[in-house]
């Protein structure tokens, strides 16, 4: 057996092991089935044992993780506790959302919903009085409008503090030169900042199936990487260029706060790029499984309880496995062109369709509906995404140098943003 196959089977059974534990399935039953499958398919005893061990390790790791990261606080009871703001606060149009880490004697993370003002920032140590409630799904704990006393202390990491304030200054540059609606959309595209979207726009994004554009997904990151890659490729060798842009993405991830979702997007974006550069299917397969295994090592809850995680992997699997099939089908059987066209719309359509095809069961299962217009909406927008993001990036960089130059760039960017917002609202309203 080849090394890459071993790596695949072992990491895959680790993932399955985590799945067993989080769904509280009968471990022995699953292990028996796995052993049977292995015996029929391969039959080598040693590797069979390794696979079973890895399965056991996954299952064990899930429980181990939970005993280590225990949440320790009473529910639905008025308590006073000390906590540190642990993430970048989301200051929306109507309220603020803070994720805080509880300090001793309590432990765990809760989310606070507080009024817009006073504004809080990352790392602040607060004394909070309120009732912690569990959300309906049981995955989130929150406190609504608690009484907060600011101790004036800061318990955050210095690096993150600096990076957050750098990001904030870049976002400010966007809002200085574009009207609110467009500025909010652009900061969603570039930095994944969604807090300032109006309710009606969020609904439109959802109904038109375009939310992924502003989720700072693997897609956005791969655009950034491809864009930078071609700039670098102009100066250096192709391979060097690729690694330079990967380095840049890592820096970008730290800047946006290195939050879980962004890290995931970056890894996915890079995997996606690798898969495009490298046509050997087994390496893509391994890259996907290994990425998933590493992410689950960091947080095993993702597999079963995080829709974002599931959707991004489903979409990636769709792109890697379903897209070539669809393309073949179109070209061979239906004799239709599957490439080219204005702004490469055929390929965009194909990509959207394959990603959605793979994500369809999850979307239906989780949200209970599917946006019938999303294919059309995405095709009309996706072709313009790279240029929009590039111009937006130029606007931000010019904003660091000169307000007036940035204003001109913003005007051009605004034309694209305006068109995209129009399409999103149009299909959002049709579908509602």
């Amino acid at each position: 057996m080849r090394a890459y196959d071993i790596a695949f089977y072992i990491s895959f059974s680790f993932i399955v092991g985590i799945g067993i534990a989080s769904l509280s399935l009968n471990f022995f039953l699953v292990a028996a089935v796995a052993a049977l499958v292995w015996w029929v398919k391969d039959g080598r005893f040693f590797w069979g044992c390794m696979v079973l061990l890895s399965l056991l390790f996954g299952s064990f790791y899930y429980h181990f993780y939970h005993s280590e990261n225990k949440q320790n606080f009473p529910l639905d009871e008025q308590i006073t506790f000390e906590a540190v703001v642990s993430g970048y606060p989301k200051s929306g149009l109507t309220d603020q959302q803070l994720d805080v880490a509880l300090q001793k004697p309590y432990g765990g993370e809760v989310r606070l919903y507080v009024p817009l003002y006073p504004e809080f920032s990352y790392g602040e140590v607060l004394i909070i009085t309120g009732k912690i409630t569990e959300s309906a799904s049981g995955r989130l704990h929150y406190v609504n409008h608690p009484l907060i006393k600011d101790t004036g202390l800061n318990g955050g990491s210095y690096l993150r503090l600096k990076l957050f304030s750098f990001k904030e200054s870049l976002v400010t540059k966007i809002f200085r030169v574009l009207p609110e609606e467009k500025a909010a959309f652009l900061s969603g595209l570039l930095f994944g900042e969604r807090a300032e979207f109006s309710d009606s726009f969020v609904t439109s994004l959802k109904n038109s199936g375009t939310t992924h554009l502003v989720a700072l997904s693997g897609y956005n990151i791969s655009i950034i990487t491809v864009g930078l890659g071609s700039v670098f490729a102009y100066f250096t060798k192709r391979r060097t260029a690729f690694w330079l842009s990967v380095l840049f993405v890592i820096a970008f991830v730290i800047m946006t706060g290195a939050e879980e979702s962004v890290v995931r997007a970056a890894v996915m974006g890079i995997v996606f790029l690798v898969s495009r550069q490298n046509s050997r299917l087994y390496s893509v397969r391994n890259a996907i499984t290994l990425t998933a295994a590493i992410m689950l090592l960091l947080n095993p809850d993702l597999l079963v309880f995080n829709v974002g995680f599931q959707l991004s992997f489903a979409a990636l699997i769709g792109l890697v496995y379903i897209q070539p099939l669809l393309k073949e089908l179109l070209q061979r059987l239906l004799k239709v062109k599957a490439e080219g066209g204005f702004l490469n719309w055929r390929e965009n359509a194909l990509q959207t369709a394959s990603a959605q095809f793979a994500a369809f069961p999850i979307i239906i299962g989780t949200f209970g509906y599917f946006s019938p217009w999303s294919l059309l909406a995405n095709v009309l927008i996706l072709g313009l995404m790279p240029i929009t993001m590039f111009l937006g990036f130029v606007t931000v960089v010019l904003g660091l140098i000169s307000y007036h130059l940035s204003l001109l760039a913003a005007w051009i960017t605004g034309l694209f943003l305006g068109y995209e917002i129009f399409i999103i609202n149009l299909f959002g309203n049709i579908s509602s």
């Binding site: 817009l116 003002y117 006073p118 609110e180 609606e181 109006s198 204003l407």
Partner: protein, 280 residues
């Protein structure tokens, strides 16, 4: 050679753009009033003939930024006057975010301190941005070309009232050939005093207190007789606008516009003629 000419073309096009801004960006000769759809709270923008921009109240959150972004071009980041009726959160909170994104020349208020945490944020933002502040009350006024604002309340006793709704800095705007009255959240008592003391006869009324049943009394409406009444109201638990208030407004034959139904209400007033646009 080819790239050179495309650079020239690019510069030429950008020039056209800048001159286009200069050409269409000039002030209008009539009054533009926008009663903005900012949820449960008050916020209205008046652009006077000649271009001066006045913002009456800021609404309960950052929503006004969305509306201002749609009304004003992206390059226009100055509000000349900001007038706060009274220091309650659904009237001033939006100003805090406004100060982040717009340059405000004057902040005009009644001098009464607010009692909430967010009021402190507004006070420090005003200080930090070095905004000129002016305390005005009944009898004061502002003139700009043919337009004028007269402040009708509060008097000394009202200003000291424990009920913040009675401290409202009520403003009567004469512009575009019409009279518009902004009265914040005043109730029956202040309404009665104003109706007794002043010749009210107005054209456009910003209905008091989001259509509360303790405002817009018969006596006051009989004196004011607004042709158009705008109710600034959004989703709320108080039952605003109340049937009582709506009935009384209907009884005097006033045309009623509500932000919760119509979205932002835009009124153009030119020599006494009104054009009214609803966003939805």
């Amino acid at each position: 050679m080819k790239s050179l000419s495309s650079i020239y073309l690019g510069i030429f096009l950008l020039n056209c753009l800048v001159w286009y801004w200069v050409a269409v960006g000039g002030p209008r000769s009539y009054l533009n009033l926008y009663f903005m759809d900012i949820g449960q709270g008050d916020s209205a923008l008046a652009i006077l003939p000649g271009g001066v921009k006045i913002l009456f109240d800021g609404g309960p959150d950052k929503s006004l930024l969305n509306d201002l972004g749609k009304i004003l071009p992206a390059t226009d980041r100055r509000i000349d006057l900001v007038i706060l009726s009274h220091p309650q959160a659904d009237h001033f909170t939006g100003f805090i975010s406004l100060l982040d994104r717009y340059e405000v020349s004057y902040f005009i208020w009644n001098g009464r301190q607010g009692e909430t945490e967010s009021w402190k944020s507004l006070a420090s933002a005003l200080k930090e941005k070095h905004v000129n502040t002016l305390r005005l009350m009944e009898g004061d006024g502002i003139k700009y070309r043919e337009s004028e604002i007269k402040f009708l309340s509060p008097d000394e006793t009202e200003l000291g009232d424990t009920e913040l709704n009675n401290t409202v800095l009520a403003a009567e705007l004469f512009s575009g050939g019409v009279k518009t009255l902004f009265i914040g959240d005043i109730g029956f008592d202040v309404e009665r005093r104003l109706a007794g003391k002043y010749d009210m006869n107005i054209d456009i009324l910003k209905v008091a207190h989001h259509g509360s049943k303790y405002s817009s009394g018969d006596e006051f409406l009989a004196e004011a007789t607004p042709a158009v009444s705008v109710i600034q109201v959004g989703k709320n638990t108080y039952g605003h606008p109340t049937k009582d208030a709506l009935d009384r407004l209907a009884a005097i034959g006033s045309a009623i516009y509500r932000n919760d139904l119509a979205g932002t209400v835009h009124i153009e007033a030119d020599e006494g003629r009104l054009n009214i646009f609803k966003e939805r």
